[in-house]
Amino acid sequence: MAETIDYLQFILAPQALNGLSLGVAVVLMALGLTIIFGLLDVINMAHGEFYAMGAFLALSLAGLGVGFWALLVLVPLLMIPIGWAAERWLIQRVFHSRDRHILTLLLTFGLGMILEDVLKLAYGPNTMRPETPIAGGTEILGMFLPNYRLFLIGFGLALIAAVWVVVFRTRLGAMVRAAAFDKDMASSLGVPVRRVYAGTFAFGVALAGLSGVLLAPIYSVFPTMGRDFILMAFTVVIVGGMGSIQGAVVAGLLLTQVQAISSLYISPVWSDPLVFGIMVLVLMVRPRGLFGRLGNA
């Protein structure tokens, strides 16, 4: 009995909390991806590089003496015009053509490669590790937890809740959902669809950048850092249902828990196959993922 409690307290619970701190960041990435897909029908292949860009921006600005708290505001604010410009000048160029699914996929894929190389040229291929912005740890129920991870969990969950409120409880969110379902009708009611598209893309990109800021102190910073992470985010979006906000949250938290807990029992080498196996299983039972798309009932 005592052994069971010890096991829960000292092995399972800390691992679950580690998983949760990664999970909230994955959810933030997946939210950006899924909102962009739900509204614009665009699979943003450059999302991982926007995440890396956020991390590097944070690194550079920190080098200039900007504090961590300011970075949390400044980096997403700087990412917004970048995302806006990418939507206006690149996506919109091919958005109205007939092969726009394939064209936007290739376009954002190419954009991602360019961004990655730009980061390599600017910063070199090596790994950098920012200092932990919040040092120390806290003992909770006999477990010792790094403060930064606790902050990450709290901040991430609050941000996810804020995104949810904006999308489902505000007039702006109603405009986004209406445009996602029927852009012509929304437009004829006065929804400025072009601005909503660019704004939503920019918002998704800003969320990716913010995830970069948040995860940099844990996973270190290098130009290809987006690659591993984006696979997880895509898996989350597919399992949760492409374009679904609830899906991104549920699948993001669930899959990162599976990864965290399973790594206690099996070699971490197997945790990716396990996660992708779950994706395949979900798709066999529910080809559209767990939840419905943004704008649909």
Binding site: R171, A174, M175, R177, A178, A180, F181, D182, D184, M185, A186, S187, S188, L189, G190, V191, P192, V193, R194, L294, G295, N296, A297
Partner: protein, 235 residues
């Protein structure tokens, strides 16, 4: 109010509107009749900016609509009640209704709330169901919502496409009553309707459309014009 001159529009290679000219004066209800597939809906879609005109002009209150986006056209005072109503499924009745306020971003919050209040007073069934998802409403209620959605805004010109299609006779009466109210409120209305007799009772004038062209213009009150219309649209 609305002036269309020699309007052409294409879907890909098919030349759907082949030189449509028509007009609607202030406060006038204009019927648009014709058999299936002649291009009535396409005329409305071209006015609203969904389908680009390949040539010709559409003017709303003197403003040329060419090249404007549907939301810009909406803000100029166009309200659209489309075929199939197009209520947004993931939005509640009230959220659907409130989207109609986007037509007039400059209007004060108080005036907006007053407009929502009037709409709910006019349609108590929508008020009762305001928190339900829009698409859980019955067909008739969805049509009311589509009408209410343009009534909360500041439309001067309404395009209404087959509002009574598939609805029970009692609801059809209600819809024509609403159109009568809107007419008395001074709106210009372009009404596409299969129920020609009922539509002519509320209309001032009408046009008959055949294969992408207007082939007849008439006075809704004139028995002679009505008779010619029935010849044109009967199969």
């Amino acid at each position: 109010m609305l002036t269309i001159e020699n309007l052409h529009a294409h879907y890909g290679l098919s030349h759907v509107l082949q030189g449509v000219s028509l007009h609607g004066g202030p406060g006038e209800v204009v019927g648009l009749f014709g058999r299936n597939g002649v291009g009535k809906t396409t005329i409305l879609k071209t006015i609203a900016g969904w389908v680009p005109a390949t040539s010709g002009s559409v003017r709303l209150d003197g403003a040329d609509l060419a090249g404007r986006t549907p939301d810009a056209i909406a803000r100029l005072g166009l309200g659209l009640v489309p075929e199939d109503r197009r209520i947004f499924p993931g939005l509640s009745v009230e959220e659907n209704l409130r989207l109609g306020l986007l037509q007039c971003p400059a209007r004060s919050r108080r005036e907006n709330e007053a407009a929502i209040g009037r709409a709910f007073a006019r349609f108590p069934r929508l008020a009762e169901r305001r928190h339900q998802m829009g698409t859980t409403l019955s067909g008739g209620e969805q049509q009311m919502l589509a009408m209410a959605r343009v009534m909360v805004g500041t439309a001067k010109l309404l395009l209404i496409d087959e509002p009574t299609e598939g609805l029970a006779p009692m609801i059809v009466d209600e819809i024509f009553a609403i159109i009568g109210d809107l007419k008395r409120a001074g709106l210009t209305i372009l009404l596409v309707e299969q129920n020609i007799h009922r539509a002519l009772d509320v209309a001032d004038r009408f046009y008959a459309v055949e294969r992408g062209r207007v082939t007849l213009e008439g006075d809704a009150a004139s028995p002679k014009d009505r008779a010619r219309l029935m010849e044109t649209v009967s199969v």
